[in-house]
Structure formats: structure tokens, C-alpha cells
Subunit: 594 residues, 2 copies
């Protein structure tokens, strides 16, 4: 019931035919990422995901983690699984060979990451956070820091964390109070951090905390925050874990989901100060942290997709096995997959998942090009696209993930509410994804503010033009795709109208961006997902016209694209209506009138 099979066929389709593996392979360093290699990597990862990680997902949920003798003990089997994960070389898949990584494109490692997240989201959070920490050190750390930490982290021998939040400083990092006192070649860190994912554990020999703190003379607000490396054990002369640092887990939170992922309250400096090493320059910590954060946001978006895929697989299995009621045209009692409303729910799940995956992977290919293109203008162009799509991937994929994991429960009927099936766990686990690494509200503000208003809608206009060009191609693709074409044109118009409204009105109404942000994000996600479904349908149509059938794969793709166009795209009207209503009714009550 709770097994997981990685959808490798679909992943390869998206990687090769939508995200453009061929193009990514032209980038320096990625030459070896051939379709054959990708296939081999996916198959190998799929095995680890289904055979090692998925089987301990439910037991981890039941057991959780606990603090014992100044350390966190994670659930049974997780340490062994992590050992196999490291042994297979998976932590370093996308990192530079300079530090022992395999240097694969983000496009490819994303598919693998999706598998970890789907198989065991609690487990996969450990490498997810480590990746962010590696990125920060690789981009902003000194040569010495890179030499000391990266190899160990890329191999998975050491893990990493991100320490941002404090009780009074959540979305608002300006309020960070953790202190960093200069002390020779290092600083002494004092303060408390909360919500630290995998903040402590017993699966690896060392933990490299990346911590936001203030130096004594730092200015107020976000411009006075610096970033520090605070290892759990200070590396000794030969780089091995030495002296225990003054950083300790206080407790693990009692959460609704991801029970096996230890969410720690961390205390720095209870015994005089934790030794921390400044990363880059003082007071630039927030900028550096955003390096980690933006990657992590894409990864959390991917979690929304992954947990939905897992919920879908289980609901599909249940719908194929559960016998209940009768159906037109069938003798006797039938499995519930024969009921139209169950079909509808499965189609909402399947078509969304395909759209989400395509959008996420396409964004990762943009990221590869933003980082590796030899042409500076191209790098910048792709980076603009990544920046624009990041809040959409994070926000829309995780919001849709709420709906899809809930449908997974619903398809199970009463069994969905019983914890034994696992459907409830996916629903509970998914609930964090719209919250951490910036809530949906924060993503939406990023989208309307930094990503739309700041460049006066230029990046949006460029994306719209690209989407329109792709959608136009559907007009000539045969009558079967006429309705897909029409629905997407309508959606693009809705999106454009919302952007224009925002650009035209925001100066006169300071509450407008915040009031319309959520609806704009959901509108844009729905449209961008539809765009990818349209592209997928076109590829499928072309393949069928060439006489390729792909074992029925392409026909199925036409069906899900049509479903998405006709059943999901009409949602743009609901979001557009909310956006065009502006701020007036959102802000009309006084605080007391609520």
C-alpha cells in the first residue's frame, strides 16, 4: 500500500522533451549528461528510493525523533538508510567534481531529488538543507572554508543546516537578535534559533550550521546581519571533527507531520559562546542566505510535487483495488476507479502533477543555463527567468500539493482518515510546504514586488511572449488540441490582464500588491502549468504524427493536457476576479471588526 515507484518514464519525457536536456548538455561541464546516463542515474536512484527510503517512511512517522543526552536520536533505520545514501554517492550528484561531486546538471539531480522527497520527505529534508549550505559556502565562502568543509559535505559525511528563524523573527529577519562577538580569527555566537530542520541528529559525524547573527556594531535591520559557519564539532588540524562546539539542541518540536525530520530548537553559546566563522563580509548575511533560500525554495516547490505524486500513486492503487458500488456498463460491483467522481479526482491529481513537474524541471534547466552559459547576456536572461519562476514554483506547487494530498485522502474514503493507510501522512507532511522557506504570502509578495513591479513588468512580459509563442503552435496542431489552445490563450490573457492592472494601479494604492499577490501567484502558476501541458501535448502530437506511440504514453499525454485545459484552466477566472477586486474589500474592516 505505501510503496513508491519513481515515474521514470514521465521524468525522462520532461527532462528530454520539455526541459531540453540536449541544450543543457551543450553547457560546459555537462557534456557527459547523455540520455543514457540520465536513464541509468534515474533507474539507480529509483531503486534506492523505493527499496530503502520508502519502506521507513511510515515507521519514521510513527516514531519521530527525540533529544537524548544532548543529542537528537532519529527514528529506527534512518541512520542505516543515510549510510546507503552516502555510499551511493547521492549527496554529491549535482556538485562540482572539484569537491568530489559528480557535476550533473540541476535538471537531472532535480528528478533524483523528487524521488527522495516522494519516498521519504522527512529523510530527504536532511540532504535538502545540506545542499543549501553547500551552495552558500561554495559561492560565498573563502578558499580555506571551501577546502575545509565542502568535500565532507558533498560526500555526505557531514550535513548542513540553515539557522534563520528566532521566536520573534520569522518572515521578518530584520528582527534577528543572535549575537556574534569578535574573538580573534572567529566570533562567539550566542542566541536561540528555532525551526532548525535536522538541527541535530545521529546519522552523520558532523553538522555544519549556517547561522544568521549580528556583530556588535552592526546596523539595525536586515543590513546588519552576518552569516557564520558554526560546526557542531570544530574541525581539527587534519579536518576531522574535533572539539564539541557550544551549540546544542534544546528540544524537537511536536509537529503535525514530517515527524521523522527533527525540527530543533537550537541554543548557541550557553557555555560562553559557540565558535563561528564569518562567511564573506560582515552585514551581508541576508544576501548570502538568499543564495541558499532561493535554491531551497525551488526544492520545497519540488516537495509539493513529490508528495503529490506519492499520494497519487497510493490513491490510484486504492481506487484499483477497492470494490464498492456499481457502474454503468459493468456487471456487478466494481472497483471505485470506475466511478466518474473518483476518475475526476485522479485526473485532477495526475494532470496537475504533470504540469507541476514540467514547470519545476523547466525552471531547473533555466537555472543550469543561468549558471553555466558561456554568454553573459544569456546567463543574465536565464537568471531573470529563474528569479521570476522561483516564487511560482515554490508557492503554486505547494498550494496545489495541499489540494492533491487532500484528494488522496478523499479517494480513500474513511480509510483515508485512518493513519494505517499512509494517505493521511502525506496530507500531514505536505502541510508544512506552504509555510517553510517563506510562506505562500511571502512568495506572492516576492512575485508582485521584486519580480514584477521592480522591473516594471519586463520579466513578466518576456515570459508572456515566450508562452504565447508556444501556445500559438497549438493552433496548428489539429482539432484535438483546439480546446487546449483556446483555454491557454484565455489563461494568458487573464494573466496579462492581472499584471497590467497591478502595474497600472499600485502607485495609487499601497495595499494593492499585498491584497492581490496570492491570487496573482495562483493565476500565474495555473497558466504556467497550462503552458507546459500545452508544450507537452504538442510534443506528444508530433511524436504520434511521426508514428511513435511510446507504449501509449503520448496518447495519455494528450488526454491529461485536455483535462488540464478544460477542467483546471477555468480557475484562472476565480483568481483574476479576486485580483481585479483590488484592496478595497480586503482592507475594509478595522482590526476590531474581525
Amino acid at each position: 500500500m505505501t510503496s513508491y515507484t519513481a515515474p521514470t518514464r514521465e521524468m525522462q519525457f520532461v527532462i528530454s522533451e520539455l526541459a531540453g536536456l540536449e541544450q543543457v548538455r551543450q553547457l560546459p561541464g555537462f557534456e557527459e549528461a547523455t540520455p543514457d546516463l540520465v536513464e541509468a542515474v534515474l533507474e539507480e536512484a529509483a531503486r534506492l528510493a523505493s527499496e530503502v527510503l520508502a519502506p521507513i517512511n511510515k515507521s519514521g512517522d510513527l516514531e519521530g525523533s527525540r533529544v537524548e543526552n544532548d543529542g537528537v536520536v532519529v527514528a529506527e533505520g534512518f541512520k542505516e538508510a543515510y549510510g546507503q545514501f552516502v555510499e551511493g554517492g547521492w549527496p554529491g550528484l549535482k556538485f562540482s567534481p572539484e569537491f568530489g561531486g559528480q557535476g550533473l546538471p540541476a535538471l537531472v539531480s532535480t528528478a533524483v531529488d523528487e524521488m527522495w522527497q516522494a519516498a521519504n520527505m522527512s529523510f530527504a529534508l536532511c540532504p535538502l538543507l545540506t545542499q543549501g549550505a553547500i551552495d552558500a559556502i561554495e559561492i560565498h565562502g573563502s578558499d580555506a572554508q571551501q577546502a575545509l568543509y565542502l568535500e565532507k559535505m558533498v560526500s555526505g559525511q557531514w550535513t548542513g543546516t540553515m539557522n534563520l528563524t528566532e521566536p520573534q523573527a520569522g518572515s521578518d529577519l530584520a528582527a534577528v537578535r543572535t549575537r556574534a562577538e569578535p574573538a580573534g580569527d572567529h566570533h562567539l555566537i550566542t542566541g536561540q534559533k528555532i525551526y532548525i530542520t535536522w538541527g541535530d541528529h545521529n546519522v552523520a559525524e558532523n553538522i555544519v550550521h549556517l547561522v544568521l547573527a549580528r556583530t556588535p556594531e552592526a546596523p539595525e535591520g536586515v543590513k546588519g546581519i552576518s552569516l557564520f559557519i558554526v560546526p557542531k564539532f570544530l574541525p581539527d588540524a587534519d579536518g576531522s571533527p574535533g572539539t564539541r562546539n557550544d551549540v546544542h539542541p534544546v528540544s524537537v518540536e511536536h509537529k503535525m507531520g514530517i515527524h521523522a525530520s527533527p525540527t530543533c530548537v537550537m541554543s548557541y553559546g550557553d557555555h560562553g559562546g559557540a565558535v563561528g566563522y564569518l562567511v564573506g563580509e560582515e552585514n551581508k548575511g541576508l544576501v548570502y542566505m538568499f543564495t541558499m533560500m532561493n535554491r531551497a525554495r525551488l526544492s520545497v516547490g519540488l516537495q509539493g510535487l513529490a508528495i503529490s505524486e506519492r499520494a497519487y500513486q497510493q490513491a490510484r492503487e486504492y481506487a484499483r483495488q477497492r470494490v464498492q458500488g456499481s457502474a454503468v456498463g459493468h456487471e456487478g460491483r466494481v472497483t471505485i476507479i470506475h466511478h466518474a467522481d473518483v476518475r475526476r479526482m485522479l485526473m485532477v491529481m495526475k494532470s496537475h502533477i504533470e504540469a507541476m513537474r514540467a514547470l519545476a524541471y523547466v525552471t531547473m534547466a533555466e537555472l543550469d543555463m543561468a549558471e553555466k552559459s558561456t554568454d553573459e547576456a544569456a546567463r543574465e536572461r536565464h537568471q531573470v527567468r529563474v528569479d521570476l519562476l522561483t516564487p511560482v514554483v515554490k508557492g503554486w506547487l505547494t498550494e496545489v500539493g495541499q489540494e492533491l494530498t487532500s484528494l488522496g485522502v478523499q479517494i480513500h474514503g474513511g480509510m483515508g482518515f485512518i493513519e494505517e493507510t499512509g494517505a493521511a501522512q502525506y496530507f500531514r507532511d505536505a502541510r508544512i510546504t506552504t509555510i517553510y522557506e517563506g510562506t505562500t504570502g511571502i512568495q506572492a509578495l516576492d512575485l508582485v514586488g521584486r519580480k514584477t513591479l521592480r522591473d516594471a513588468g519586463r520579466a513578466q512580459a518576456e515570459l508572456l511572449a515566450d508562452m504565447r509563442a508556444d501556445v500559438e503552435a497549438l493552433a496548428e496542431a489539429g482539432p484535438e488540441l483546439d480546446e487546449v489552445h483556446a483555454a491557454l490563450v484565455q489563461g494568458l490573457n487573464d494573466h496579462e490582464q492581472a499584471v497590467k492592472y497591478l502595474l497600472g494601479q499600485f502607485q495609487a494604492d499601497p495595499d494593492l500588491p499585498g491584497s492581490v499577490a496570492f491570487n496573482m501567484l495562483m493565476l500565474m502558476g495555473t497558466v504556467a502549468g497550462g503552458w507546459q501541458m500545452g508544450r507537452a501535448a504538442l510534443r506528444a502530437r508530433q511524436a504520434l504524427d511521426r508514428g511513435e506511440d511510446g507504449d501509449g504514453f503520448y496518447r495519455t499525454k494528450l488526454a491529461t493536457a485536455r483535462f488540464y485545459a478544460r477542467h483546471i484552466m477555468p480557475r484562472t477566472k476565480a483568481y483574476l476576479g479576486g485580483a481585479l477586486a483590488g484592496s478595497e474589500d480586503v482592507m475594509s474592516l478595522t482590526e476590531a471588526e474581525f
Copy 2:
């Protein structure tokens, strides 16, 4: 943080100004239900809800219930709370004085029920199921059965259960296998029932199980099911609990929510057969069960509202206290209620809750009129309206409840995912409401099948005409309500279009009703909710025009009605689009292609 204050001002507004208490008071037996009496009842109930039931909601969630020595032990404090509940005479609020009840209209008792559900949903499930059992015996039981059971149940001394589901028989009751062998004046019942809410417990002295089972010669399918009374303890000569019957709790389920409500696997006849007494005639059990079921469906719809209100109160409180970030026009850091996106979420919650409450209470007033009108034609007319609205109240209120309790979590940010706050509990508890007493899919099929197609859309047309008349009145109510009027007219047109499409196409396409059912239910719920918000706005406008301000209450009502019209009503386009897309894309994949 986890306190609850019953919204009595709003409840009285809905009872008096929308649902028509004056009209209900004209019905025989309801003469004493004056506004003053209603106010007194609500205030008294509000006290019990907030002082006795709400405080044990979270501890009940943490402790749950367990089977010990052939009996279920419920969480600490529940037995004492139930004692106070019985002592106050609350179980009998709406039942006939003939059996010791207080004979209040369903309209009034519904407001009180909302309080129990909001304060402690797990607790409130016990009287909810007992009410259903009382209804069944009162309507279908013999005089002797009524004499033996009703007084004890109405007083709350004994509780009741509904035993429908078996492992192979969930939504499909045709598959019920529990057997009932005739044995003189009674039957011997053998079989296993699952998902029995409050199936066993230690809070009352006896439990009256209403059980669906088959007699030996019964025909196959739903026409061979009979209804039996199976008391836990057989009443002795003077009606006191005597011999222990052969019915036993096997286990309690490990569920995602409502932990303090024991959901039992019940075994009948492990030791020869449980003594059961036939209710009414053989083979009519399903019809009788629907008496309980329809009431229970309205009650579960009410749960969707109640748990949303609870989630709203807590989110509002958190938003007023949590300091984070800055806002335009405010110095320094602000509470998050100043952020537009938080406002948006609170407004989505508040406006929906008002719409849901109005629709639920109006339906209950219809129920009162269906039962008590002196004119037979009037009774029938009101019953048709109740029948039409029941799946909408059950389906739409509980589906919206998913969204609103999720927003309650979201407003809390990271704290929402931590169990300590309680926001997570409301979200988990709410998750069952779209499943039990008939899933949303089952409600939707009831709406399109029995309630729309069977009378060729007559009941729908009558409701539409009534809604149009009310909405038309808004056209003359001043410019402030112009947009409300326009949005509701649009919504009514959308609903009418969907109904016409269904009526016109269903004969040619057997998959159509099931394919469009969910979207039609959500469309109709959204429109019916808007209709009530429109009526509320009109009452508020009239009150303001009379110079009544209601301490600002009426102004607030105009604001929420406007928000609902402009931000929520556009959703009808999404539902209409899905409905008009028909069955083609829903059914296009083969089972293997999923």
C-alpha cells in the same frame, strides 16, 4: 490561545433576520421560542461551550481513547463534562416534551449544536449520533420502543450510535452482510461493524445501537436490509440497564483527528448473537436509516462551519498578537493583522463562515416548517427545499471547512504546523467531515441524481426563482451593493446554466452526472452562500437606513458581503467550466493509463 467564544450576536442575527424566527414561532409548539428565550438559551450554551467543553478539546486530542477490559475509556474530563451536559438538559433541547425534551425549533438547537461542535468536535459527536438514533426511533419505532428508549436518550442518560459501515460496505450499503436471525420476540445479530462513532465509552450508563442487518430470507441489495435496536445492556422490567448484550468494542481506530471521539470496530454476536429488536418493518432499514442520515448530514455540514469558526477565532487572535514586519502607514513593527495578505485570509474565512452559517440555519428553519407547518402543501414544499439543500449544506460547508481550517494554520506560519497552538488540531479534525455520513462525491451524486434529475429540475427551478427574487431586491439597495447584486446575478446565471446543461445532456451520456456532480455542488454552494450574504447585506442596509447601527455590526456585514461577492463569487466560473466540460476528459483514460 485555544479558547472559544460563541458568536452569539451573529447567530441571533441569522436566526432572527435571515432564517425567520418569527415565522418559525408561528408553528404549533414553537410559540415560546421568543427572541428573549433564544438569547437566554444561547448565552447559557455559550458558557458551557467555552468553560467546560473547549478546555478539554486539546487534552482530548492528546490523550485519545482506548479499549480496556471490554470497554472504551475516553479521555480525562469527558465523563465529567458529559455529566454537566446532561445536567443542563442540553441533550433534549429540540426533542418532544412528550419524552422530556424542551421542544425548541431545530433552528435554535442548531445554533447550540454549532457551539458544541466548535468547542469540542470529538465530544459533540456523541450527542450528534444520539440525536440521529432518537429521530429514527421517534419516527419509525413502535410505541413500546419509544416508551422504553426515548426518555432515557432524550435526557442523555443513554447515548445512541449508527451502525452502517462494514469493511466491504462503505458508501455501498447494498453490500451489508451482518445477519439477523429471528428468535422469538427479537433477533440475534451477528457481524462486524466499523467506523462506529462513540461505539463504546464510559460516559453514560447505556448505549443504544441502531444496526443495519439482513434477515435470512431477505432479498439481495439495499432492499433486503432491516434496522435493529441493539442495546449494550438489555433494559430490564423497570427499564433499567440489565443483562450485558453480546456486542463488544474490538478496537478504536488510530485516526488523523477527532482523537477523543472513539471510532470503534464493533463485534456483534461473538458469543451466540446480540439481542436486537426490529424497528418498523423488515427490509425497510435503509429508508429508516436515511431518516437518521439526512439529519446527520446536516449536522456534519454544521461541523464544517463550527470548526471553521473555531479556526477563525484562533487565527484572528494570533494575527492580532503576532508582531512581524512593517506596514505602510504604520511606525515600527506591526502585528500581522496589518498585512494585506493576512487580511485577505481572514476575510476569506469570515465571509465564508457567515455565508455557511446563514445557509445552514435557513435550511434548519425550512426543516422546522417541513415538520410543523399545519398546511400539508407547505410541509411538502419545505421538505423539497430541505432535501435539495441537504447535500449542499453537507458537501459545500465541509469542503469549505477544509480550506478555512487550512488558512487558520497558514495564518500561524510555522506555529501552525506545531501541535501546541491547536490550529493543527482543527485542520486535522475537519478532515473527516467531507468523508463521513457520505463523502462529498456521494453528496454531489445525491444532488444531481435524486435532487435534480429525478424531478426534472423542478426543485432547482423553484430555488432559483426564490434566489432571484431576493437578489433582485439588491438592485434597488443603493450603489454600495451594486457590485454584490451584479456578482450574484452572474452566479445565479452560472448555476442555472449548469443545471440546464445537466438536464439537457444526461440522457445521452451516462457518465455525465458523476463527472459534473462535484463541480455542480460547489457551484451551487457558492451561489447559495452568496444568496444568503446578499440577503444579509439587504437587512443590514435596511437597518442602517432606519438609523440602527447595531454597534457597527451592520456596517461589518456590508463589508463581508462585498468581499464575498467580489472575491469568492468569481469561483463559480471555475466550477462552471469544469461542469460544462462534461465527462469526456474525465473518462478518457483507461484504468491502466493512470
